[in-house]
């Protein structure tokens, strides 16, 4: 009898739908059907059992090919790389659970590493803005139950977060919003006329790169001052109209996306959006939320904040104190400047997401990929260690884009012998402790890692 598993959380995007129903085969090895997920979510599950999986760690050989090795050997190799590097970088964590992130932090602290996550190339600018200006936000259920004005700014959930609008923002009927879509005004601000803009009551086509100026205009108007005829390509009347709508909302939410945090000035665009949200709370209730990309990219921000007080870009290399300063301790900056001498790519694909110059710099040193899948990073690595897929083969806690923890389940077992991120990092930690103890016992032995870098 195939087994139906309910309340399954989707390990894809930050919407973190936890209402999936997954049917698995008799032997618990194959996923037969996934209900309730969007197309992308659906694919994640089927990919897990239909594609060819790597079952053992693979070490690069002198001829450039990969050779399978045991987990013990891989763990020893990884530990030695960390141990011998002056400034190793452990980066990624877009797609794993918080347990894995906590274990990785233990390793990073022991190894004196830089610990960073994908926010560094994505919503890091949001975090910078939060440091400077706070974050008046709410959980997504609040939006569903109360919001009568929704503003998407530089975000296109129709593509990036397919069920966002139906579960939380535009369409659902909540406690005070029984009429659903009809009870809400939707505003979309974006340089491109996106699919999300199509459902908007008001669409403002902001001039690319002028978001800050437009926010500034909103704030200036909200305080009763004059603004020029046109700002950021938007006519004054339109700006006045939107400000009136915002001030008269009962409960409003600004959802912003990469359009805002990746154009000029980055964090300042978010910062002034937060200022606007603050201002609007003098009139009525407004909240703001980042449309975080991956299902648990909020996780490392949480875990490392409670462990060190910093959500990303942690420099643990001083070993007795943590330091953080994005712009210096951020992965791309470190890589481009040549500050790094070993790289761990964990649960992400830096090979695909980093600028090519950064990849080239990093490739001068050992590169280890820890990921369930074959990806660009795994193919340019010196060592690839496969792990189980969180949310499919490994359970755990993940943090949704609104920082709500969601408990994920596993629906099938990982391929035989494949371990979780958490177990892997715990074992690397043990090995590091052993190396440290060995060294404490005798003089420091300089062991260079075996394995030869692949061709670029």
């Amino acid at each position: 009898m195939p087994k139906r598993i309910e309340n399954v959380g989707c390990p894809y995007c930050g919407v973190c739908c936890d209402d999936l129903v997954v049917t698995v085969s008799d032997d618990g090895k194959k996923i037969l059907e996934v209900e309730n997920a969007c197309a992308i979510g659906n694919q994640i599950y089927h990919h897990a059992t239909e594609s060819e999986r790597v079952r053992l760690p693979r070490l690069r050989q002198p001829d450039g090919t990969y050779k399978e090795i045991s987990y013990d050997e891989a763990i020893d190799y990884a530990a030695r790389v960390l141990y011998n590097a002056k400034k190793p970088l452990i980066y990624g964590f877009g797609s794993t659970n918080c347990e894995g992130m906590a274990a990785a932090a233990k390793v990073g602290e022991k190894a004196g590493a830089i610990l960073d996550n994908c926010a560094s190339i994505c919503h890091g600018s949001s975090l910078l803005a939060i440091f400077d200006n706070g974050y008046p936000s709410c959980t997504l259920g609040e939006v569903k139950n109360r919001a009568d004005v929704i503003l998407y700014w530089g975000a296109n959930p129709a593509h990036a977060h397919p069920r966002h609008m139906s579960r939380y923002s535009i369409f659902p009927r909540g406690f005070f919003t029984g009429k659903g879509h009809k009870s809400r005004k939707i505003i979309v601000i974006d340089p491109r006329y996106t699919d999300t803009a199509r459902v908007a009551d008001i669409y403002l086509q902001v001039k690319q790169g002028y978001d800050y100026d437009l926010f500034n205009a909103f704030r200036t108007v909200a305080r009763g001052h004059e603004i020029p005829e046109e700002v950021a390509g938007i006519k004054r009347e339109k700006i006045l109209e939107v400000v009136e709508i915002m001030k008269n909302a009962r409960f409003g939410t600004i959802f912003y996306g990469m359009g805002l945090c990746h154009t000029d000035g980055r964090n300042h665009n978010i910062d002034i959006a937060i200022s606007l949200t603050r201002d609007l709370n003098d009139f009525t209730k407004w909240t703001i939320m980042a449309m975080r990309g991956h299902y648990n990219i909020t996780g490392p921000n949480q875990v490392w904040s409670w462990q060190y007080g910093f959500p990303y870009c942690l420099d643990l290399s001083k070993r007795d104190i943590a330091h953080m300063n994005p712009g210096e301790t951020s992965s791309i900056d470190l890589a481009m400047r040549g500050e790094i001498d070993a790289f761990f790519n964990v649960a992400t694909d830096a090979g695909a997401h980093f600028p090519i110059e950064a990849v080239k710099e990093l490739r001068k040193h050992p590169w280890i990929t820890i990921d369930p899948n074959i990806c660009m990073a795994s193919e340019i690595s010196d060592l690839h260690i496969p792990v189980g897929i969180v949310g499919v083969e490994v359970p755990g806690i993940v943090y949704r884009m609104d920082n709500v923890p969601v408990q994920y389940r596993k629906v099938i077992d990982p391929p035989e012998g494949v371990i979780s991120d958490e177990e892997l990092f715990e074992r690397i930690y043990q090995r590091l402790c052993e190396l440290e103890a060995e060294d404490a016992a005798k003089e420091r032995v300089k062991t260079t890692a075996e394995g030869i870098p692949a061709e670029d």
Partner: protein, 266 residues
């Protein structure tokens, strides 16, 4: 005044963190003692003498100590961090955080510097003959009490995010400034002899900004209120006076709101 000369003879493979290279740390120490002071290359803590040759002893106090850095210091960070007195001369380029949290004394860099220089400065002088990177005289992450005092003078251009959360002191940029000048500022003066790209004075509560050239993209939150003649860094000139950021809160003093000021040269 006694002079300690550090010459970079064995540059680091990565970058070197030299927060202990200050007159305060060198004062009262002999050359040999100075060579034993800690510096960091990543997690590797080593004596300064591993990378530099050291000549000369420190003075009795920080105020009586001058440090001269020679050789390629372009991968050296944090020189002069938290210094209270004395002098540092860097003969070429230097990296990040030069003069960070500086309280007094003088640093003269004859080349360029990277980002975060003069961060959270409280006093003293930081003179840069070349260009400065981003976050010049800015505030550390999350800190709303940015630069409090002192003078930063950069002959060349500066990157973005100059003087964020500035509270006091003066920053003079000989060339152009990239976007974001005095964002969230609540005091202090920034003088830009060249052009400013945009977002000048965004979310600014108080403080003054002078731009001798053009502001490429002025913010809608600033309003022209008149013309003034003023002497700025020794130059007498006429300026158009703007107040703002009108989108931001402003304190009230003697019944009148206090704004941030931008002056652009006519």
């Amino acid at each position: 005044m006694k002079t300690v000369t550090l010459t970079m003879t064995n540059p680091p493979e990565l970058y070197l963190e030299g927060q202990n290279i200050t007159p305060d740390a060198f004062a009262g120490k002999t050359a040999a003692e100075i060579a034993a002071i800690d510096v960091w290359e990543g997690k590797l803590k080593s004596p300064l003498g591993k990378y530099f040759t050291v000549e000369g002893n420190g003075g009795a106090t920080a105020a009586e100590t001058r440090i001269i850095l020679r050789g390629d210091c372009s991968r050296l960070k944090r020189v002069g961090q938290q210094m209270t007195a004395g002098e540092i001369v860097i003969e070429g380029d230097a990296d990040m955080y030069i003069g960070g949290w500086m309280k007094g004394g003088k640093i003269h860099v004859k080349g360029n510097v990277d980002s975060f220089c003069g961060l959270a400065m409280e006093g003293g002088e930081l003179i840069i003959d070349g260009k400065a990177g981003h976050h010049l005289g800015s505030s550390p992450r999350g800190e709303w009490r940015g630069m409090q005092g002192g003078l930063i003078r950069v002959a060349g251009s500066a990157g973005n995010d100059t003087a964020t959360f500035m509270n006091g002191g003066t920053i003079i940029i000989g060339g152009d400034a990239d976007i974001h000048v005095s964002t969230h500022a609540e005091g202090g003066t920034v003088i830009i002899k060249g052009n400013a790209k945009g977002r000048v004075g965004g979310q600014m509560v108080k403080g003054d900004i002078y731009v001798f050239g053009q502001i490429e993209n002025p913010l809608p939150g600033f309003k022209q209120v008149g013309e003034v003649e003023q002497e700025v860094d020794g130059v007498k000139a006429r300026f158009i006076h703007y107040i703002g950021d009108l989108g931001e809160r402003h304190p009230v003093s003697k019944g009148k709101p206090v704004y941030g000021n931008i002056y652009t040269r006519i």
